[in-house]
């Protein structure tokens, strides 16, 4: 077996070590890299900007600790944008861990931007994911009755932020931050019936599926994965984790491409030798 053929038998532990090194290096020796803002992210940004000030945005949290590196920055970027625009929003979580992550994130950013819980924003608490479809039938007609209470158990009718919010017509935007891909439920039962604008914030695994409703106009913008969050941070002129992660992300993608090419060089070399 010559050198080129050996290229298709690199020990996986060497690859793991290389990956850890190429990710660590840009984090330790920070290299600022420009982030491209795609049209989908620009549309999402504009949709949030254009939301009427007298309506409320709803940030849907359908992610947990497993994807918090991607969906956490997306959530934080949206929260920051809504706070900066002085637009009210509600968080509703379909994952118990995501419920706390989103709450803590909003509290931290709210403290930084002098926003008060209960007045500028509210958390509608955790709802069982299996109840998403029935909830989407009852929520549009009476938001307070469907969501009942906030994360602290306070009846929503007593929360100042909920003043004037009665039906889906008072909701100006739904931002679906998800690792599960339940967007079709929101499109089917909310956009399909009430045309409420939806901004989709999926993990990169399910992001390719989002271009379908984006083309059909069923979602008004998309933040695909960590890159989408970094692009949104660029539009907000902040440098969060997503922006910092672009360097390691670049390096890791280059490593994977190099390894795949190396493997194929070894494969072609071995095939040629067998052929001759």
């Amino acid at each position: 077996m010559n050198f080129f053929e050996r290229l298709q038998h690199i020990d996986r532990r060497i690859m793991y070590l290389l990956l850890a090194l190429v990710i660590s290096a840009p984090l330790i020796w920070t290299i600022h890299q420009p982030v491209t803002v795609s049209p989908a992210v620009k549309k999402a940004y504009k949709t949030v900007e254009d939301m009427p000030a007298d309506k409320m945005a709803v940030i849907v949290i359908y992610w947990g600790s497993g994807t918090m590196a991607e969906t956490g920055p997306q959530t934080s970027a949206l929260i920051r944008h809504l706070f900066k625009l002085n637009k009210k929003f509600a968080i509703v979580a379909f994952d118990p861990q995501g419920s706390k992550f989103a709450y803590d994130s909003a509290i931290t950013i709210g403290d930084e931007l002098h926003k008060k819980y209960g007045v500028d924003w509210v958390h509608w608490g955790y709802k069982p994911p299996a109840n998403l479809l029935p909830l989407l039938q009852s929520f549009p007609r009476d938001v307070v009755k469907a969501m009942v209470a906030d994360i602290n158990g306070t009846p929503l009718a007593e929360v100042p932020a909920m003043k004037g919010i009665k039906t889906i017509r008072d909701i100006g935007l739904i931002a679906d931050v998800t690792s599960v891909g339940e967007l079709d439920a929101w499109i089917a039962y909310i956009y399909g019936s009430y045309k409420t604008p939806i901004v989709y914030c999926p993990t990169a695994v399910i992001a390719p599926e989002g271009y379908n409703p984006l083309d059909a106009g069923q979602i008004k913008g998309m933040l695909p994965g960590l890159q989408g969050a970094a692009a949104y941070e660029r539009l907000l002129h902040v440098e969060g984790f997503a922006t910092v992660a672009m360097g390691p992300l670049s390096a890791s993608h280059v490593l994977i491409i190099v390894l795949i090419i190396a493997g194929n060089i070894g494969y072609i070399s071995a095939r040629r030798r067998r052929g001759s």
Partner: protein
């Protein structure tokens, strides 16, 4: 004895160390399967389950069920009766009682299919009829729309199994559909790689920035 818990910075530091040790224990599986990984895995499952129980009560059952009963809406006890029916799945003799609640819930969700189908597909079908000529259309728009129609029809032809793919009229679009699907799967893989790397970068950032303080 537990007064140290009141110190935010101390608990944060202890938490970071526990998290770092746990992270490294999980990563030890990359070398080979070992007891540290198994232990960390079991601890995570236990903690996640315990946390789920707490959140289910605090954010779901207490405000939506308990408080309503306490305020006089006693009929909410029926929700507990309905919920208890799920647990008959563990009884061999009375498992059919659990089928009642499962069947009811499946029926409810299935009943939403018509509305769901209409809500999703009407706009998408409408958007699929793209113009291939018109005033003000650029060359790229025309080209993109023509490509869209070709790809869509080819992919749909690939999944059309009612007739065998024998004749060229059936085989060629189906074959094209397979090529386009492979192209789309390649794009999906590229996106998937970004997702997985993002999660890894998140953990590496925690180790280097929050724990070791070597990253900026």
């Amino acid at each position: 004895m537990f007064n140290w818990l009141a110190d935010v910075e101390l608990t944060k530091s202890i938490g970071i160390w526990i998290a770092a040790i746990g992270t490294l224990a999980i990563y030890s599986v990359l070398y080979k399967e070992n007891p540290a990984y198994r232990l960390a895995e079991h601890i995570f499952i236990g903690a996640a389950a315990g946390y789920g129980i707490y959140v289910t009560w605090a954010e779901l059952l207490k405000p939506n069920w308990w408080d309503r009963i306490v305020l006089g809406q006693w009929y909410w006890v029926f929700a507990l009766v309905a919920g208890a029916m799920f647990y008959f799945i563990y009884s061999q003799k009375y498992v059919w009682i659990s089928r009642i609640i499962f069947g009811t819930l499946l029926g409810l969700i299935a009943g939403l299919a018509f509305k769901g189908f209409a809500g999703i597909n009407i706009d998408r079908i409408h958007a699929s009829f793209k113009p291939i000529y018109g005033h003000g259309m650029t060359i790229s728009q025309v080209a993109n729309n023509i490509l869209f129609i070709i790809v869509l029809l080819a992919v749909m032809a690939y999944f059309f199994f009612s007739f065998e793919h024998r004749t060229p009229a059936r085989r060629i679009p189906s074959s094209m559909g397979r090529w386009f699907l492979m192209f789309a799967f390649g794009a999906m893989f590229g996106s998937t790689v970004m997702a997985r790397m993002s999660l890894l970068i998140g953990r590496m950032y925690f180790l280097l920035h929050d724990w070791l303080h070597v990253a900026h």
